[in-house]
Amino acid sequence: MPDKAADHRLEQTLGRVLQIGVFTSAAVVGLGGVLLLASRAYVTPLLTSFTGVRAPLRSVPGILRGAAAFQPEALVQLGLVLLIATPLLRVVLSLFGFIRRRDWIYTTASLIVTGVLVAGLIGR
């Protein structure tokens, strides 16, 4: 059945996207980690009571600014943002896959999931 074959091809593409995403983000997190470990002045933050990570590291624009300045913590955070964005990319790709096949039920389902993920990422 052409439907099944198309499903399988889409699944393969999505699997590769996930793999590339996770290894890219691990590399960025690793780079930030090495820099963090190399900076001797860095002390383990107090984690026993919750204050929340400082504000620039909570938002994508703040993280991008810090990463551009090569701040180790911001680089780690950038890698984590890439990691969080990987499943979103996967859902967006499957959305296009379903649109191309004019499969409106699953286009709708993918749209809802995309909307929820985007709202989670930008909404507070």
Binding site: V29, L47, I84, A109, L117, G120
Partner: protein
């Protein structure tokens, strides 16, 4: 504690958690959160943030291998993700309202249940006898390779499966774990999807579900880079190692030992939570 030492210990613990989590199917989160909170005294909110990102890493890292084998049912995945992502956002919102001690008690109860569930014998069902009308309309029924041939299977219980999946999403968003056990339960027991298909599709969905709440946690400052870095890299390395070399070595003994450890951790989380120590 100097940061390099802190990192080293956490990375080792995370590798072990990822390894055992992937071998037993319970996931790394059930070990990571108790390890961070009970042993290192880390606030449970930072622990949840670090666990959540490692859940995404594990799910995405393993999905590529599973997808290649052709077990994943992408329609079932997307359909049920509507339930899990919506509920995960709700779970993350709920987490902001509850006190850390209550979250710890709920966490203990959930991992206790998961550990018990992981000890149950697996019945490898080959799909439902008849599909229900919704699964036909939604074209959820699929096929998967078995001994080199494609074996079709039927899906049933679409509505109860969808609702239980929302429960799994809520737990994932609230506690920062994958809640793969509940996901498999919904697909395996209720929707009667073959075991191989339900485990791999569940893994496929875990990353998306965690993604829905991760953005919210990032905005709240739960994701602390100094902590998440060694935990995420460690759990990812451990789970890849576990999936590659030891997937076939799912021995009964290992399962039992790990379940016993998780039950002890669950008891301690519940006890400390009830005493208001979080």
């Amino acid at each position: 504690m100097p940061y390099p030492l802190f990192c080293l210990i956490l990375a080792c613990g995370s590798i072990l958690a990822g390894l055992l989590g992937s071998m037993t199917g319970l996931g790394g989160g059930v070990i990571i959160i108790p390890l961070l909170t009970l042993v290192f005294g880390v606030d449970i909110r930072y622990a949840i943030g670090a666990s959540l990102v490692s859940v995404i890493a594990t799910s995405s890292g393993a999905a590529a291998a599973y997808v290649r084998e052709g077990f994943t049912n992408i329609r079932v995945g997307i359909f049920l993700e509507v339930a899990t992502t919506l509920a995960a956002v709700g779970g993350a919102a709920l987490a902001g309202l509850l006190s850390p001690s209550i979250i710890a008690v709920v966490f203990g109860a959930v991992i206790f249940f998961s550990a018990i569930q992981s000890l149950q014998a697996q019945h490898d069902i080959s799909g439902a006898d008849r599909p229900d009308s919704l699964s036909v309309r939604l074209r959820l029924n699929g096929e998967y390779p078995i001994a080199g041939k494609m074996q079709p299977y039927n899906v049933t219980g679409v509505v109860p499966g969808f609702l239980l999946m929302a429960g799994a999403g809520l737990i994932s968003g609230l506690l920062g774990i994958g809640s793969g056990v509940v996901k498999v339960l919904a697909m395996d027991r209720i929707m009667r999807i073959p075991f191989k298909v339900s485990t791999t599709t569940s893994n496929f969905m875990i990353g998306v579900t965690a993604c829905a709440s991760a953005g919210i946690y990032l905005g709240r400052g739960y994701i602390e880079p100094a902590l998440a870095m060694p935990v995420m890299l460690g759990v990812l390395a451990g789970s890849l190692l576990g999936a590659r070399y030891l997937a076939r070595a799912r021995t009964v003994v290992l399962r039992r030992v790990f379940a016993a450890v998780v039950i002890l951790l669950a008891a301690e989380m519940i006890f400390n939570g009830l005493m208001g120590r979080f």
